[in-house]
Structure formats: structure tokens, C-alpha cells
């Protein structure tokens, strides 16, 4: 009986990160809810014990039911009947098991039926779910949308909708349209206000994950005659009211269990969520940030299964009289896969903690005004979360694709057959670097933290932390890489040429990511005394050095006007 949480002891170590204590104490308002709810924790240790035990439930469910169903779900997939989505049998079983286990609405407050978990353990759960069935993580992970409903809905909406999510109803975020993909400002779905204050939605949405969900958050044009993002508002559509039908499900390459729908809105009744005109510029941005962190978690789960499948095969497969893992070409690949996995996870959980820190202050601010000190902390962590979210989404999704590629490579010819899980992993991985903003768009979001120095500040912060004797050489090397990074940033900044900055953005962001991830591996490994993390710190450190030096060299030898060489015609 596999348990995808307990078979990975590094996960539990992350629960004991020093920042967790502060997050938990703030989140639990000094444990005052224990009086009112019999499942609320009594103190910090009790809360961590709760997270640990609930993650054990997640790991159990994932290691048995969800992982067992992954193959049949991939083959069967969902289908449409009379405008409604019918999930694959395995998906239905999985959803029912998650409901029974009470794993929906994990991060929602207890008064709405949630578990009041911080984002960090929720993200750990998402990582585990994705390892079991990457496509199912989408359906389960859309409970995230409740966060946006909680943040921007009014009290009445919170009370009507959030308990339903906690009881297991699913959600979707209806943003994309045929002519509005990466550019959401072009959304055309029309929202018309009724005399009774409700709205009617008309139009088409495309590529909507879980588009037949129970509760939809919909981006629509409420301001007639407008053309940009300021004419868009966010709406809540309740499936019980009817008016939205599924026209078709896309036939996708991967995550086939997750229905990607084309939706038609025919005078669908909806209600406004938050204020008019803030739909895209405020609410969807918040929604996307949460979703990006979710995709980063999904990516880490993919890296994990890719690594494990490859490792198992390499140990078992014998050629030339020995297991192929004995060959340097293979054990190097495996170590690098593990290093990329651990690096992605370290940054994922770090980002989740930053998100937790600022969100918990935001939530406290709904009850009372914050002190100047608290406001400053909130601002600081908000900025760190904003800086790390695109970084982890971009890098973790690219790494999981690389790991899925290497996983097949290690399987050799067998990996190209449909007989092994690795071909599904390869297909499932592919979307992670595309949806919720392509890697290229993550770079666009991240570059300002290169130019304004957020990443450099973060590196300096990590450089102050304690490092074990064993990892001191990696630290020394990191300090040198930071100089190369800063020199590259200075060169690009000095050119003050927007096209040149955009051209170099990917390299600079990758350099920042390589250095930050190595720091995290080094400090995590030192703090937790984990041999496997220390190994990954060394392996990833080697890779980071080569990567940073390569980019540094490229930038140093590249004049701004050379961008012209790359232009088409």
C-alpha cells in the first residue's frame, strides 16, 4: 500500500520550516478557534500534527485510489452528453474519495466548512495529487477559486458558495475565449445588468478547464463599448441556474481526464463578484497568481513521478550484464532529474510560505487594522510572493518537461511504447509550461524583479543564513555566481533599451532562478540535515554554475544592436 506522502520523508521536513510557526499562529489567530470547533488545533505543534496527519490521508488516497485510476482515466477520458460533462469513471471515484476524505476547501475558513489550512500544506497536497494523476490535480486544485471568491465576494456570496465548495462541489475559472488567450483584455463575453441587479451572460468561452463545474468565476465585459481590461468584471455563475452548456470537449495531448470545454452562454443568470471594472485588473490577477502556484505544484508532482519511474526502471533494467543505473550517462541523468525536482520543490514551498504570510495579514486586515509593522511585513511578503510565483511557475514547469523527456530516454525503446506510465507523464507534463501563462509570460512577469533588485535582495537574505560545513563550497561558489548575475543585470540595465531587456529577460530570470534555487537547497539541506537535499544542492549547484556562467558569457559578449540578427525578414 503506497503512501505518496510518507514514502517521501523530505515532504514532512518542509513542515518544520521556521516561518511555519508564524504563519500558523497568525492563521489560527493564536488558536482561538479551538473553543468553537472541535477539529481546530490547540497550539502550533498540534496544527503541524494536523497538517502531517491530513497529508498522510492525501498520500494514502493518492498512492492507492488516484494513482491506480490514472491509466484508465487517461484512456477513457470525459465526454459530453446533452451539454453536460460526464467524467471518466475513475475521475468520479477520485472526486468522491476526496469529498469523503474532506479534502475540498482545505484552505477555506472553518466557518464556511473548510479546514483553515495555510496555503503551504495545501500546496504540498497539490504536489502529491499531481504525482498520482496530473490531470486530476486540475479538478481537485480548482478549489483554489474559492480563495478568490472569499477575497472579493461579499458576505452573502461567501456564505452561499464557499460551504458548497467545502462539501465537494467543483469550480472553474472561465477566462479564455477564442480571441482572448494570453491577451485577456480582449474578452468579449457580454454581461448585461438586469433591473433586479442580477446579470445575464451571452457569448462563448473556450479552453475552460472543468467547464461544467458547479460554480464558475467568469470574466465578462460589463461595460458596453469598452475594448480593454477596464471594461471587464468578474461574475459568479451557479450551474443550478442553468444557461451555460458545454458545446464540446477538446481532444488533448495530455491531462486527458481533465475536461477542457467550449462553453456557450445563453442568457445565463450570473451575479457580480466584487466591483465592476476590476474583473481583470484586480480579481483575475489574484486568481491567476493562485492558479500559477497551483500549476507549479502540479509541475513538481510531474517531476516527482518522472524521476521515480525513471529510477525504478534504471535499477531494474539490465544491459551489458548490469543495471543501467550503473552507467555514468544514466546515473548523471537521474541525479540531475532529482536535483531539478528538489530545486523546484524548494522554491515552490518557499513561495507558498511567502503567499501565506501576506495573505494571512490581508485576512487579518478584514477584521482589524494592521499595525505599521504588520503592514510592512505584508508588503514585503507580497512582493516576495509576486517575485517568486512566476519564477517557480516558469522554472518548475520547464523542469518537469525536461524530467519527463529524460524519463522516456532512460526507458529507451520501451519508453516510446504505450506500455509504461512514462509516456502519459510526458504528455501530461507538456501543458504545464503553457497554461496559466506560458513560460515566456512568466518571464515577462519576473523580469521587473530582476531589474528592480528583488531577486538580488532575496539572494543576499539567503547568504546570511546558516550553512552546514559540508555545503560551504557550494555557498562560496554561489557568492561568485551572484557577482556574475549582478554584472549581467547591470549591463542590461545600463543599455536602457527595452527590446534588449526583453531579449535577455529569459536568461536573466533563469540566472536568478538557478541561484535562488541553489540557495534554497543549500539552506534547506543545512537546516533539516537532509542527506538527499544536500546531494541535490551539490548536483544542482554544479548545474547552476554552468548555466549562470553560460548566460553571463552570452550577455557579456552581446551588444544591444545584435538583436537585429535574430529578427525575421
Amino acid at each position: 500500500m503506497a503512501n505518496f506522502y510518507t514514502d517521501n520523508p523530505d515532504l514532512k521536513l518542509h513542515l518544520s520550516h521556521p516561518l511555519m510557526q508564524k504563519i500558523v499562529e497568525l492563521k489560527e489567530r493564536n488558536f482561538t478557534e479551538a473553543e468553537k470547533y472541535d477539529y481546530a488545533p490547540l497550539n502550533y505543534e498540534d496544527a503541524i500534527d494536523n497538517y502531517d496527519k491530513v497529508l498522510e490521508i492525501v498520500g494514502d488516497l493518492c498512492g492507492t485510489t488516484i494513482a491506480d485510476n490514472a491509466e484508465s482515466v487517461d484512456h477513457q477520458g470525459p465526454h459530453v452528453e446533452k451539454g453536460r460533462v460526464i467524467y471518466a469513471d475513475g475521475t468520479q471515484t477520485n472526486l468522491e474519495a476526496c469529498r469523503k476524505a474532506g479534502l475540498m476547501g482545505m484552505a477555506m475558513p472553518r466557518r464556511f466548512g473548510g479546514l483553515n489550512f495555510p496555503i503551504t500544506p495545501y500546496i504540498m497536497a497539490a504536489d502529491i495529487v499531481s504525482r498520482a494523476d496530473t490531470g486530476f490535480e486540475n479538478l481537485w486544485g480548482l478549489q483554489d477559486c474559492a480563495e478568490t471568491l472569499y477575497e472579493f465576494g461579499n458576505d452573502d456570496q461567501r456564505e452561499r458558495f464557499i460551504p458548497r465548495v467545502c462539501a465537494g462541489e467543483t469550480m472553474s475559472m472561465d477566462l479564455t475565449e477564442p480571441d482572448a488567450g494570453s491577451d485577456l483584455q480582449s474578452v468579449m463575453l457580454k454581461a448585461t445588468e438586469q433591473p433586479d441587479g442580477t446579470w445575464r451572460l451571452n457569448g462563448v468561452k473556450r479552453f475552460i478547464t472543468n467547464g461544467d463545474s458547479d460554480i464558475h468565476l467568469v470574466l465578462a465585459r460589463s461595460e458596453d463599448g469598452t475594448k480593454d481590461g477596464r471594461g471587464l468584471s468578474m461574475f459568479i455563475y451557479d450551474k443550478r441556474d442553468g444557461g451555460v452548456d458545454v458545446r464540446r470537449i477538446e481532444n488533448k495531448m495530455g491531462i486527458k481526464g481533465s475536461p477542457t470545454c467550449e462553453l456557450t452562454y445563453k442568457n445565463a443568470k450570473a451575479e457580480l463578484c466584487g466591483s465592476r471594472r476590476l474583473g481583470l485588473i484586480k480579481y483575475v490577477m489574484a486568481l491567476m497568481n493562485g492558479a500559477r502556484l497551483g500549476i507549479a505544484a502540479q509541475s513538481v508532482g510531474v517531476s516527482e513521478i518522472a524521476y521515480r519511474e525513471a529510477l525504478a526502471y534504471a535499477r531494474e533494467r539490465k544491459q551489458f550484464g548490469k543495471a543501467i543505473i550503473e552507467f555514468p550517462a544514466v546515473f548523471e541523468m537521474l541525479s540531475v532529474m532529482k536535483a531539478k525536482l528538489d530545486a523546484s520543490r524548494a522554491l515552490l514551498y518557499e513561495t507558498a510560505r511567502y503567499v501565506d504570510m501576506y495573505k494571512v495579514y490581508e485576512d487579518i486586515a478584514r477584521e482589524r487594522s494592521l499595525t505599521a509593522e504588520e503592514r510592512a511585513e505584508m508588503k514585503k511578503y507580497n512582493r516576495l510572493a509576486d517575485a517568486c510565483t512566476p519564477l517557480v511557475k516558469g522554472l518548475a514547469s520547464e523542469y518537469c518537461n525536461q524530467n519527463a523527456y529524460d524519463c522516456i530516454q532512460i526507458h529507451g525503446g520501451s519508453g516510446f511504447m504505450k506500455d509504461y506510465a512514462c509516456e502519459r507523464v510526458y504528455r501530461d507534463a507538456r501543458i504545464t509550461s503553457i497554461y496559466e501563462g506560458t513560460t515566456q509570460l512568466q518571464v515577462v512577469a519576473a523580469i521587473r524583479h530582476v531589474t528592480t533588485g528583488t531577486y538580488r535582495q532575496l539572494m543576499d537574505l539567503y547568504a546570511e543564513m546558516e550553512v552546514s560545513e559540508e555545503l560551504m563550497p557550494v555557498k562560496e561558489q554561489l557568492l561568485k555566481l551572484m557577482e556574475l548575475y549582478s554584472a549581467a543585470v547591470a549591463k542590461v540595465n545600463e543599455a536602457a533599451d527595452p527590446q534588449y531587456t526583453d531579449f535577455m529577460a529569459r536568461r536573466l530570470v533563469e540566472m536568478a532562478g538557478n541561484i535562488i534555487m541553489t540557495w534554497l537547497l543549500v539552506t534547506d539541506a543545512s537546516r533539516y540535515g537532509s542527506a538527499s537535499m544536500a546531494k541535490s544542492a551539490k548536483v544542482y549547484g554544479k548545474m547552476a554554475q554552468a548555466e549562470v556562467e553560460k548566460h553571463s558569457d552570452f550577455i557579456a559578449n552581446f551588444a544591444p544592436d545584435q538583436v537585429e540578427i535574430y529578427k525575421e525578414a
Binding site: Y39, V54, I57, M106
Partner: protein, 290 residues
Amino acid sequence: MSLNIIVLAKQVPDTRNVGKDAMKEDGTINRAALPAIFNPEDLNALEQALRLKDANPGSTVTLLTMGLPRASEIIREAIFRGADAGIVLTDRALGGADTLATSYSLAQAVKKFGNYDIILGGRQAIDGDTAQVGPQIAEKLGIPQVTYAEEILDLKDGFVTVKRRLENGVETVKAPLPCVVTVNGSAAECRPRNAKRLMKYKRAVSPSEKAKLTPEQQAWIDARPYLNLQEWGAAFVEADPEQIGLPGSPTKVKAIENVVFTAKESRRLDNDDAQIEELVKELITNHTIG
């Protein structure tokens, strides 16, 4: 209609993951080397019980287990999954029981429990593989039994309708309540532990566990009656000392032999119907098959 449902369960060594040190030199089980788990088919039985509870609001599911005091672990496990309460029947005098003494002891506990509508249990435990205890309890209580159940199809008007999974097919039977139903591993898997229930009940303790806590912890538990599990002894269930434990167990283990099957005798046949038929006949004659 609300039901009083009893689920019989056993904490067993996990014989599905047997390592090299699973057996001692004398051939007995090395319990220390094997993790103690909820007997798998008892979990199938628990799921059937919880479905009855879902369908009949107000019903209660009580887990009854006989074993060492640590068997309270599976009571908590059952409560995390949706059971309401649990009783550990534990007593030194009950030790060393065979199926006859076990079923007598459990039947006494059921009588003590009193008002019940249906008793569910797993078909058999993975440590003994006898499948005798459930049926023997039914006999001792003088009530009907339905074995090899795969699904409880219906329960109303004093009858339960059960789908049985047999060697050559399925059979649907109806039995009057109260009765004992033993459930197959082919039945629906048990639902997972529930996060909220786990956080609420994780500190539930039996009296012997509570005795080891500090006075403050004990007072905290006392303020929350739902955290108190029950422990019953042989005297409490009014068991006859001659019918329990070793004295009540006519089964005597003479010797245990470690049998390893080896493929010593192999025979090559041609792809020829006559030869295959001859072999099948031979195997039937010597009772290897059939």
C-alpha cells in the same frame, strides 16, 4: 429508520508485506517485525456499515474488536472513516483463544451490547484465514448468517437483501434481522479517513491509554466525552472462564512446518490435445485440481 450496527474487526499483522524476519525460528509469527493493521476485509465490512448509516440517518456504527489494548488503534481508524464508537474486548484471560473461544467471547460482548439490528464483519482475517468467527458468532447468538457478501442491496421491513459472491457466480439472498453478514474483499473499498474527523478524534483514548496521560490531559479528555473509547473485560461481558482463552480453545497446534513449493517435477507436453487431456485426467484423479 435508524439502525444499531455492529462491525466486528480485528487488528492483524500485515501478512501482505512479509519480510525475511516475519517468522521466528519456531515457526510462529514475529509480530514485532510486522506492522499491525486493520484487517482488510473488515474494512470492506465497515464500508457496508457506513453505507447503511448514510442511507438510514440517525444510525450508529460501533466497532467491536477483541485483542490487545493497542487494538484501540483500529477503533480510532474506524472512527476517522465514519464509525461512531468502538469497544475493545481485552483481557489477559482472553489470550490464546482459537476461533471457538473467540466467537464465544465476542458473542458475549454482543449480548452485553444489547440492542443491535445487524452485525457485519470481514469474511476472514489475514492472519488466520479461517473465516469461522463470524459464522460461529451467529450460531452462538442464534441468529441467521449471510457469508461472502459483496454488497448489501437493501435493508427494510426487518429484512436485509445481500448479494453474495460465490465461486461460480453471484447469489442474492434475503435474511431476517438481526443477522450476521460477513463481507468479501471484492466488496466496495472502504472510504478514506476524513480530515475533520481525524483532527477531532485523534486524541480519542481507551481507559488503559488514558491512564498513561498526565492529570491535565485526562481532565481535558474528560471534558470531551466523545474522546473516550470503551474497553471491556471478560468479567464485564459475563464470560464463562472455561470457555475463553486457552482453556476454552480445543484447537491445539501440534507443529508448524515451513512449506516451500518448488517446481521439481516438470513435464514437457507437445502441442497435442490427447496429451493435455491425459494430464488433466491425471490431475483430477490425484486431486490436484477439481
